[in-house]
């Protein structure tokens, strides 16, 4: 060891690194596990100026081990909006094999107390399943995407996975259900068969250059730790539904003596009713139905119904207390039809954040 001296070649190498943009991060790193890497050096020399037979070194050999590394990412880009009583609602994730071996992955959707985007968990979806995108179209296709585990995902490959669940009826606006999709690395190599989960790597075993050993190299997901052969990502459902409120106001419009000036509610007076329906939700409510019974001791004034609505409003009348809605009012001498005992208005749509209005009048008997 007398003539051995550690030489710092920093300057030499720095020049090389700058000139050639050496970056280990930029290098593809996917040598397959089981690859044998052999290094042999050769020494040539002379004796008294005569070239001698070059001396080869022994081969220094090791087998590339099985690096287990994976990534699970939700690709919904935000919490998924759902409405109550809907079925087969989909959360979309991708699973990528960043290791150097073909692997299987088992999949679990785990309910999460905290939402993917800062929300608080308020309900559990039902009928929760995890399906692999079998037909590779990145869209959940019921009946086609039926695989329950990822089979034979090659290194650097990515596959789409869906969490599919039903939203119970009775959930209200802003209710949140969050799920962590956990992918667990399993043994690959046999197509069509789910390999056993790899629970532990070989970190407690001595290095063996002749064995393909397993090394967990994965990071920390939303519901798993670093170097555990698993990765996870959080996504969730948020209920967005229409929230309708109705406010009814009454105004005496005129009476037979004061007419329209400070009219009083006496027999023969005309009373106007106004119903305001507002959608405080974020989604459009369809077929919003407002039914008003004509109060006792008053009669419907024929032709007094008016509506204010961005969409079509359909007005119908009943003379049997709301059982049927096919009655055609006929005005009597005072303009009323006492046979009308209910008025119905159906608004085709009420968009979130908007309101509609219905007006009608009666005469006090």
């Amino acid at each position: 060891m007398s003539n051995r001296r550690k030489t710092n070649l920093f300057v030499f190498l720095l020049a090389g690194a700058l000139a050639f943009g050496l970056s280990s991060a930029a290098l593809a790193q996917n040598t397959a596990s089981g690859t044998s890497i052999t290094n042999t050096a050769t020494l040539s020399y002379t004796v008294d100026g005569n070239a001698q037979a070059p001396v080869p070194s022994n081969p220094a050999t090791f087998l590339v081990d099985n690096k287990v590394d994976l990534m699970v990412t939700t690709i919904d880009g935000g919490i998924v909006s759902v409405v109550p009583n809907s079925t087969a609602q989909v959360l979309t994730y991708t699973v990528t094999n960043n290791g150097n071996t073909v692997q299987d992955y088992s999949l679990t959707a785990q309910i999460s107390a905290t939402g993917a985007f800062g929300e608080t968990e308020t309900f559990d979806a039902t009928n929760v399943n995890v399906f692999v995108d079998t037909d590779n179209d990145d869209t959940y296709t019921a009946g086609t995407d039926t695989d329950l585990y990822i089979d034979e995902l090659d290194m650097t490959e990515t596959i789409t996975v869906f969490v599919v669940a039903d939203i119970p009826q009775g959930q209200v606006n802003d209710d949140v259900a969050s799920y962590d999709l956990i992918a667990q690395t399993a043994i690959g190599g046999t197509g069509g068969t789910q390999g056993a989960d790899i629970a532990n790597d070989n970190r407690l075993d001595a290095d063996d250059p002749t064995l393909v050993q397993i090394v967990f190299a994965d990071g920390t997901g939303t519901a798993d730790g670093a170097r555990d052969g698993r990765f996870s990502s959080k996504d969730g459902y948020k209920v967005v539904t229409a929230v309708l409120t109705a406010v009814k106001t009454t105004n005496v419009l005129s009476d037979p003596f004061n007419n329209a000036v400070n009219p009083k509610a006496i027999p023969g007076a005309t009373v106007g009713y106004q119903v305001l329906v507002e959608n405080f939700g974020t989604v459009t409510a369809d077929n919003v139905e407002v039914i008003d019974s004509i109060p006792t001791n008053s009669s419907f004034l024929v032709g007094s119904v008016s509506t204010v609505s961005a969409s079509a409003a359909t007005v119908t009348f009943s003379n049997d207390g709301g059982v049927t809605w096919a009655y055609g009012p006929v005005a009597g001498a005072n303009g009323t039809d006492p046979a009308v005992n209910a008025v119905r208005v159906v608004f085709a749509t009420v968009a979130g954040g908007t309101l509609v209005q219905e007006n009608f009048s009666v005469m006090i008997d």
Partner: protein, 157 residues
């Protein structure tokens, strides 16, 4: 006639007795960092047993002259193994110059002087991933009994 043969044999024997017998050994090592009792991190080199893509391997080549004559013009040549990318020379004997080949060992030079031909037929400077060989050229003879080592680091792709 017989005498002449005997002398020839004797000369050959004597020439064989004064010889340079150079040994060369290669080892693939990896760094393992552990924490000792004092809480300090200690990095040791162990034979490369558990290696996955992205790991760095230190190839150490030890040499020794077990003969009785100096070995002159010593050159150690090490091809970069397949799937490995050269990162840097770790150690080199004093007086040895290092050169690199990026063309399978035909031409050796300082890295900055190396070029390769890309897929479009254009010449461009060689990158570390293009390096195919690393070579140490000794300036001094290796005396009998002398020994030492050279090493370089490479990354498993």
């Amino acid at each position: 006639m017989n005498r002449a043969i005997l002398i020839t044999v004797l000369v050959l024997f004597l020439a064989g007795a004064a010889y340079a017998d150079v040994e060369l050994n290669a080892a693939a090592l990896t760094e393992v960092t552990t924490t000792n009792a004092a809480g300090q991190e200690v990095t040791t080199l162990v034979p490369a047993g558990k290696v996955v893509p992205g790991d760095e391997v230190i190839y150490t080549i030890t040499f020794a002259n077990r003969g009785t004559e100096p070995a002159g013009d010593v050159v150690i040549t090490n091809p970069i193994p397949e799937h490995m990318v050269f990162t840097k020379v770790e150690e080199s004997p004093s007086g040895a110059s290092i050169s690199i080949s990026a063309d399978g060992g035909t031409r050796y030079d300082a890295p900055r002087n190396l070029t390769v031909t890309d897929a479009k037929g254009q010449q461009r400077p060689a990158k570390a991933s293009d390096f195919t060989h690393v070579r140490w050229t000794f300036q001094e003879p290796l005396d009998p009994g002398a020994e030492g080592s050279v090493s370089f680091r490479a990354l498993l792709q």
